[in-house]
């Protein structure tokens, strides 16, 4: 995250447009990376001194500072091996406290450790941040990736100041909602224009009363996740120098994405995905289909099963780990409330968490370690009126 004072943006009628780095900037970014590369194994302080002078190619000074800020976070340091500075410090400073002269203190410690006094003096603070050595270049870090990382840090710095965020997303909504809730945000969901489209309004409970920076971290954490949506548009309301401004981020903006999310929540899901596709060539298996709005909450089924030719034949399927009959009934009733009776629940027979043996109504498939596609097919291929 870069400090606010390093941020540059244009104010276009109330909309803050950050000055993102682009293709043209990769020239000086490459020069910057080369400078770091040249100082690998040398002290960070020396690099700082070297970079006081301008780079060999023209570089906008504030963008350069931003890039350095981000680069310093990504590029590791290592302490030099050999003599342990901590033990040296204790030896030297206690020797000095006993009243000997400076050079004698070094000489005495050096003799005891079998080192030269100049080595002792030179390694006294070798583990401090400014004395640490630059580690080799992080894997895959190239000028374009650095540009994307700087842009991400800028977008996050803006979001850190924001009070409320409105997100229009297609796909990946489940992970976004989960992460927002985990970060202590409140999430109001509204159905969007199409089935796949959702509008999420995110804000912290305290945001009602004051600008609370504590939520900024959670809001900023969403940005790299957005890149995994099929399409998104983010609008953040923020406050700059006491005035209301907004910031918009869309699909296609040059931002560094988060690591690829896990495709499946569990091994059972992953196995079912493979097994079912092999066993049922007539059916499409859609992972994380659109969410269903039930009252004020959202239900995200694990899979949708869609017949290839008869498009009206569509089922929802959820794989449940720990469960009780009450839980299954509540789930079924929830969907029945919005007129959906096409939910198949696959329940782990070994993880039945209730005492009584009541059987829930609805389409239930039980499994042990592996969901049998044949059992699912038996339900969905059953002739006759379905719903």
């Amino acid at each position: 995250m870069i400090p606010w004072s390093l941020l540059d943006y244009a104010d276009r009628a109330g909309e803050l447009v950050p000055c993102f780095l682009g293709e043209a900037d990769t020239i000086w970014l490459r020069a910057l990376l080369d400078a770091y590369e040249r100082f690998v194994g040398r002290r960070r302080r020396d690099l700082d001194e070297y970079l006081q002078a301008p780079l060999p190619v023209a570089s906008p000074s504030r963008s350069l500072r931003r890039a350095r800020h981000v680069l310093d976070m990504v590029w590791d340091n290592e302490a030099v091996g050999g003599v342990a500075p901590r033990a040296l410090r204790e030896a030297v400073f206690t020797a000095a406290a006993s009243g000997v002269r400076r050079d004698l203190a070094f000489a005495r410690v050096a003799r005891r450790l079998g080192l030269r006094p100049s080595v002792v003096e030179g390694s006294l603070f070798a583990d401090l941040p400014s004395e640490r050595r630059l580690a080799p270049r992080p894997a895959r870090l190239n000028p374009w990736e650095l540009a994307l990382r700087v842009n991400l840090a800028m977008a996050q710095a803006l979001l850190r100041r924001s009070r409320r965020v409105r997100l229009d997303v297609e796909g990946h909504a489940r992970a976004l909602v989960a992460q927002a809730k985990w970060g202590g945000l409140m999430c109001v969901v509204k159905p969007g224009r199409t089935q796949a489209h959702l509008t999420l309004e995110l804000s912290g409970p305290m945001a009602l009363f004051r600008r609370a920076l504590v939520y900024g971290r959670a809001l900023a954490g969403l940005v790299p996740q957005l890149l995994w949506c099929d399409r998104f548009r983010l609008r953040a309301d923020c406050e700059v120098d006491g005035e209301a401004r907004c910031f918009v981020l869309r699909s296609g903006d040059p931002i560094f994405p988060a690591a690829e999310p896990r495709r499946f929540d569990s091994k059972v899901e992953a196995r079912f995905y493979d097994d079912f596709r092999r066993a049922a060539p007539d059916w499409d298996l859609i992972r994380e289909p659109e969410a269903l709005a039930v009252g004020s909450t959202l239900v995200f089924p694990d899979f949708a099963l869609q017949h290839r030719r008869h498009r009206w034949r569509r089922w929802l399927l959820e794989i449940v780990g720990f469960w009780t009959p009450q839980y299954l009934e509540r789930k079924r009733a929830q969907l029945a409330q919005v007129g959906r009776r096409d939910l198949i629940l696959c329940v782990d027979a070994s993880r039945h968490c209730a005492e009584e043996e009541t059987v829930a109504r609805g389409h239930i498939v039980d499994y042990r370690r592996r969901v049998d596609p044949a059992k699912v097919l038996r339900i969905i291929e059953r002739p006759g009126p379905i719903r």
């Binding site: 004072s5 000074s61 504030r62 901590r86 410090r89 204790e90 030297v92 400073f93 206690t94 020797a95 000095a96 406290a97 009243g99 400076r102 203190a105 006294l124 603070f125 401090l128 941040p129 202590g184 409140m186 109001v188 309004e201 804000s203 912290g204 409970p205 305290m206 009602l208 009363f209 004051r210 609370a212 920076l213 504590v214």
Partner: protein, 466 residues
């Protein structure tokens, strides 16, 4: 009417007969949940108002009532500490107690916690202080002491945590503690971390400080969030009996001719840019200036010159010579050296072979050094900020301020570090300042504001380039 706690706020659902909740201070309609909402710190007030209105109330907020606190051993207090405790209790257990550094604020807090006997969260500024509080608590509290921060994650009915952790987690903890003890409470009232106190529903609160804020917006906010200053003792009241006797003096030093020339050059470059700016924008803050300066080459040059001049003033040849003389003079005593920044601390450490205590030095090494200092195997420590607040070094009896003691608050904190009483102890605080620089101006301004707090004036001694 049902009252619940939701992540640092109170949610008010249902009807209260004859009351318009929207008229109450701090209560706002929240369309996200179709209910009224108020920040958690208003819990006592909301409760009192609901009580007046007389409607039935289902109060789910005070989860602390279901959490059992173990027994407390008796905490023996000095007379002024007992008076402070009494004043806090009389103020319905909400308020700030102001006692000089070294006079045992923590003991007042321990006694307050014992008397309240509700689940308590102690929030302290640093990790070092967190461990110090934990060991103090373990001496008088029978149950396990929770610790949150510095890699520890244990939440118990009596828990110590850092400002930072409390800020991040209060949304979850706000209803679990009935008492919040805030160490160094002067950090609150005007910072982003105030949110931490706003998200707590604790009905009783105790703030501790050596330097309460002067009347103004910060003091008013602190009054709302923790309580008014209910008790205040000054250094002059305790000196000699409960705090060590002390002398303080200032050594006014001259730069060497070469350094003076270098300084004038750098500072001149800065002023050439700064003065016209000041003229244009007389009310602007330093941050405003930084923003303007960062936008032009001249401005950046001025800032670089300003930094260079600061670095020069922080530690120069004459200061080094004076420091060497002072260290020799007091070689039998325990000395704390205070610097304006870490960089200077390392310069002092390397030149005079004095152990530095900074944020870069790990916890284990710091603890080891403080132990060696206590034993007398280290006779001096140098630090910029770490030793300012609360770290317990009772043996120290000489303080040397190499720079950075500009503000009254920092000066008092540093003085407090050498005032833990011991039989026959007479502490000395010496400040090194450079003649005809902003350093000497700041020291002069500070002496004016310090007046009533300090019994003895500083003796000014002129030193020269040696």
């Amino acid at each position: 009417m049902e009252l619940t706690f939701d992540r640092g706020t109170l949610v008010l659902e249902g009807d209260a007969p004859g009351v318009d909740l929207g008229d109450w201070p701090g209560v706002v309609w929240d369309p996200r949940v179709d209910a009224f909402r108020a920040p958690a710190w208003r819990y006592s007030e909301v409760l009192a108002r609901l009580d007046q209105s007389g409607g039935a109330l289902l109060d789910r907020v005070p989860a602390w009532k279901d959490w059992r606190v173990y027994g407390w051993r008796k905490v023996v207090l000095r007379p002024y500490q007992a008076a402070a405790l009494y004043a806090w209790q009389a103020a319905r257990r909400r308020g700030v107690v102001s006692l000089p550094t070294g006079s045992g604020k923590t003991w007042v807090a321990l006694a307050a916690m014992a008397s309240a006997a509700v689940p308590t969260l102690c929030v302290v500024p640093t990790r070092v202080l967190m461990h110090q509080w934990r060991s103090a608590l373990e001496r008088v509290y029978d149950g396990p002491v929770g610790l949150w921060g510095d890699g520890q994650r244990r939440l118990y009915p009596v828990t110590v945590t850092t400002f930072e952790s409390a800020y991040r987690h209060m949304a979850q903890w706000g209803q679990r503690f009935g008492l919040v003890v805030v160490d160094e409470a002067h950090h609150f009232g005007q910072s982003t971390r105030d949110l931490m106190l706003e998200m707590s529903a604790a009905t009783t609160r105790l703030g501790l400080t050596a330097t309460p804020p002067a009347p103004g917006p910060q003091a008013e906010r602190l009054d709302e969030l923790v309580g008014p200053t209910v008790f205040q003792a000054r250094l002059a009241d305790l000196k000699g009996q409960y705090l060590a006797d002390f002398d303080r003096f200032t050594l006014v030093l001259e730069l060497s001719p070469k350094e003076r020339a270098a300084y004038e050059l750098e500072y001149g470059t800065f002023r050439a840019f700064f003065l016209p700016h000041r003229h244009q924008d007389p009310t602007g803050t330093w941050v405003d200036f930084l923003r303007v300066a960062a936008r032009s080459d001249d401005g950046r040059r001025a800032l670089a010159a300003w930094r260079a001049s600061r670095r020069l003033l922080a530690f120069h040849q004459t200061k080094a010579a004076a420091l060497r003389w002072l260290l020799t003079e007091h070689r039998e005593r325990r000395v704390l050296i205070f610097t304006p920044d870490n960089d200077t601390a390392y310069r002092v450490a390397a030149e005079h072979l004095v152990m530095p205590i900074t944020c870069d030095i790990g916890r284990a090494e710091r603890a080891r050094c403080l132990e060696l200092f206590r034993e007398g195997r280290l006779r001096a420590l140098v630090s910029s900020r770490v030793l300012n607040e609360g770290v317990d070094v009772p043996e120290a009896d000489v303080g040397i301020i190499v720079g950075g003691g500009g503000g009254a608050r920092e000066y008092l904190q540093r003085l407090g570090r050498i005032l833990r009483p011991a039989p026959g102890k007479h502490a000395v605080l010496c400040e090194l300042i450079t003649r005809a620089t902003p350093e000497s101006q700041r020291a002069r301004r500070r002496e004016l504001t310090l007046g009533p707090d300090l019994p003895t004036p500083a003796h000014h001694l002129a030193g020269g380039a040696r």
